[in-house]
């Protein structure tokens, strides 16, 4: 399993609050039985017109955005459904981190399990990042997971929270299912005592 350590990238800004999972990947693309190809349909209804052509004004379609691995979004990103297709579409497209002030709980879990790092920043930093995207859109940020910092172009390193277990899993590429499978004895003992 691949690890996440540090990442330096330019930013794709999407200044929309409450982006829901139906926008990230509309339900009609959930009929897949594997994970491949979802990146092509990331933000499909904002990204393509009725004929399926890219809309030039949508941020992902601007040529200079190609290859950027960090997405900057408004508050409460990923609300809505539990579909893991949302992080699959984001990572399939090439994103490795998303910056917001807050993430919906299920989305955050799903992202972490797919090595897509949710980076939570405070409101002033969030606003500063969006302003920078307007003033100097080609700046880079560096995300250092071990140090839990996001470094801005002015050199300021802002901390972000992540629980110790998820961090260790990302840094070391831990297989969470393997971790629980090793507890089979405890699970058996629990089941024997569980009264229902």
């Amino acid at each position: 399993m691949t690890c996440f350590t540090t990442l330096t990238s330019k930013i794709v800004p999407l200044p929309v609050d409450n982006v829901d999972t139906d926008q990230i990947i509309p339900a009609r693309f959930l009929k897949v039985t594997d994970k491949a190809g979802l990146g092509d349909n990331l933000f499909a209804d904002w990204r393509y017109d009725a004929e399926g052509n890219p809309k030039p004004d949508f941020v992902l379609n601007r040529p200079e955005m190609k290859g950027r691995q960090v997405l900057l979004v408004g508050d409460n990103f990923g609300c809505g459904s539990s579909r893991e297709h949302a992080p699959w579409a984001l990572t399939g497209y090439g994103f490795r981190a998303v910056i917001s002030t807050s993430f919906a709980d299920i989305f955050r879990n799903n992202a972490l399990k797919n090595r897509l790092l949710p980076v939570i920043v405070d409101k002033p930093t969030h606003q500063q990042l969006f302003s920078l995207c307007e003033e100097a859109p080609d700046f880079e940020v560096t995300i250092d997971l071990a140090a839990q910092t996001l470094t801005l172009p002015d050199g300021r390193a802002v901390g972000f929270p992540i629980d110790a277990f998820s961090k260790a899993c990302l840094l070391n590429g831990v297989d969470e299912i393997g971790y629980v499978l090793r507890m089979t004895d405890q699970i058996l003992a629990f089941e024997a005592a569980h009264h229902k």
């Binding site: 200044p15 929309v16 609050d17 409450n18 829901d20 139906d22 926008q23 509309p26 339900a27 009609r28 959930l30 009929k31 897949v32 039985t33 594997d34 994970k35 209804d45 009725a50 408004g74 508050d75 409460n76 609300c79 809505g80 459904s81 539990s82 579909r83 893991e84 992080p87 807050s102 993430f103 919906a104 709980d105 299920i106 879990n109 799903n110 399990k113 797919n114 629980d163 110790a164 277990f165 969470e176 299912i177 971790y179 629980v180 499978l181 507890m183 089979t184 405890q186 699970i187 629990f190 089941e191 569980h194 009264h195 229902k196």
Partner: protein, 472 residues
């Protein structure tokens, strides 16, 4: 240790922790795992790659709901991808010995996962219940801890019957007062989310308390818990009481005889103890509520049906202002415009929020002896095969058909619009479902969320209508 007063949530959590290593999430035991065709294929594939089988097929139940057509089930499924997904669910269930309520097996009990769990008595107080679906919060109406999980977590539960979980915080959601006539449980939850927003519950489990909640039927409680996720909370719970036990008694998987008595004694210990502390508290006066409707593109953009669409110019916060402008542009609505009298193209009565027998009875009460407006498409989609049969026993389908509505086979249908039931771009729908996101009911479609009463009233007039004007 257990003398400290605890909340309903804490009691269930404590009873399910298998292991808790320092600096790690708890390993939480899962009593009931519900599975559907859309979020499970990659999980079963992962299991296969590990050379594993489902650990507890007896605690795992599957249905077909999201992608299944709601037309005559004898017709072939034309959508090749949907057909493949359904066939994979059939194969995965058969290979692992999981009961599947589908087309070829268990069709008499098939339905939307959150409708059939309670209906079959699978959902019980004190349980931990998960499903690869965010509306698993519904099951909390029984005093269970039910929450949605992603596909990686589905794989983990299939493999281990456990989940790695960080303990969420608790929020007491106090709903007092008595509903006025024509105001329903759906209006309580829409009113709550309109008041506190779609992110209020992030990181919390809601427990709904207060006299208004105690007075509700089980089906009304399910409607409220169902939409906890729209308030940002992964789980919403209501303490079990006699209403709960009466609803459950005699259901297929409910305990029987001495087992029932034992279970009942345990269930009665579950409600939150006097003096137990929540991490936060919010409240709502049910008595002050009017029927609610949404005007925007998230469930928090709601207002009393007699109100006017808010004006972005009156909104101070620039992000909120931009969000409102964007929503109104998508919805094709003007600031300060009333919604009463606004035309609709489609009326959708269904979804895990409002497709139970009581919802259909409410809608039928209004539609009886009346006709739906000419040119309007009205879909009534029962939540399960059992709901459908019950409705037909009561003759409700005849009321719907005589009125000019469609009477469909059970499934998610136009709630998520992935089975061919969908809006055309630009069409307006009034829907009893739970999400009004852009394109949720079909690309370019525009959704007003409301109660079954409001939906039925609007079906008659073809415009958004206050059901109270037709109920007199």
């Amino acid at each position: 240790m257990n003398d400290r007063p605890r909340t309903l949530f804490e009691k269930i959590w404590d009873a399910h922790v298998v292991a808790q290593e320092p600096d790690s999430p708890a390993v939480l035991y899962i009593d009931l795992h519900l599975v559907h065709e859309v979020t499970s294929p990659q999980a079963f594939e992962g299991l296969r790659c590990r050379g594993l089988k489902v650990r507890r097929p007896d605690r795992t139940f599957a249905t077909l709901d999201h992608g299944i057509p709601t037309h005559d089930r004898r017709l072939p499924i034309v959508d090749e991808m949907a057909r493949k997904q359904i066939e994979m669910m059939e194969r995965n269930a058969a290979e692992n010995g999981i009961t599947l309520y589908g087309i070829k097996t268990g069709a008499d009990k098939q339905g939307i996962v959150h409708v059939i769990g309670p209906e079959l008595g699978l959902t019980q107080p004190g349980m931990t219940i998960v499903c690869g679906d965010s509306h698993t919060a519904t099951h909390g109406a029984f005093g269970a801890l039910g929450f949605g999980i992603g596909t990686s977590e589905v794989e983990m539960v299939l493999a281990t019957q456990c989940l790695l979980q960080r303990k969420p915080k608790t929020m007491n959601v106090r709903i007092d007062g008595a509903l006025k006539p024509g105001v329903t449980a759906k209006d309580i939850i829409l009113g709550l989310i309109a008041k506190y927003g779609v992110g209020a519950g992030t990181g919390y489990v809601f427990e709904y308390t207060g006299e208004a909640i105690r007075r509700l039927s089980m089906e009304e409680r399910m409607t409220i818990c169902n939409m906890s996720i729209e308030g940002g909370s992964r789980a919403g719970m209501i303490a079990p009481d006699d209403t709960t036990f009466e609803w459950m008694a005699g259901r297929e998987f409910a305990p029987k005889g001495a087992d029932w008595d034992r279970a009942l004694a345990y269930w009665r210990t579950l409600p939150t103890d006097e003096g137990a502390r929540y991490d936060a508290e919010i409240s709502l006066d049910a008595g002050a509520l009017e029927p609610m409707i949404t005007y925007g593109t998230n469930p928090g953009m709601g207002m009393p049906i007699t109100g006017r669409v808010p004006d972005p110019d009156q909104v101070g916060d620039p992000a909120h202002k931009a969000a409102l402008q964007k929503a109104l542009a998508y919805m094709g609505l003007r600031p300060n415009q009333p919604l009463l009298g606004h035309p609709v193209d489609v009326v959708f009565i269904g979804s895990c929020t409002n497709s139970r027998i009581s919802d259909l009875r409410e809608a039928a009460r209004l539609l009886k002896g009346r006709k739906v407006k000419e040119g309007l498409r009205v879909m009534v989609v029962p939540g399960s095969a059992q709901v459908k049969r019950q409705a037909e026993r009561e003759g409700l389908h005849e009321i719907f058909l005589a009125a000019g509505a469609e009477w469909r086979e059970p499934g998610c249908s136009m709630c998520i619009a992935m089975n061919g039931d969908q809006l055309e771009p630009g069409q307006y729908a009034i829907s009893t479902s739970n999400r009004n996101f852009e394109g949720r009911q079909g690309k370019g479609g525009r959704t007003f969320l409301a109660s079954p009463l409001t939906a039925a009233a609007s079906a008659i007039t073809g415009v958004i209508t206050d059901a109270r004007t037709l109920l007199q």
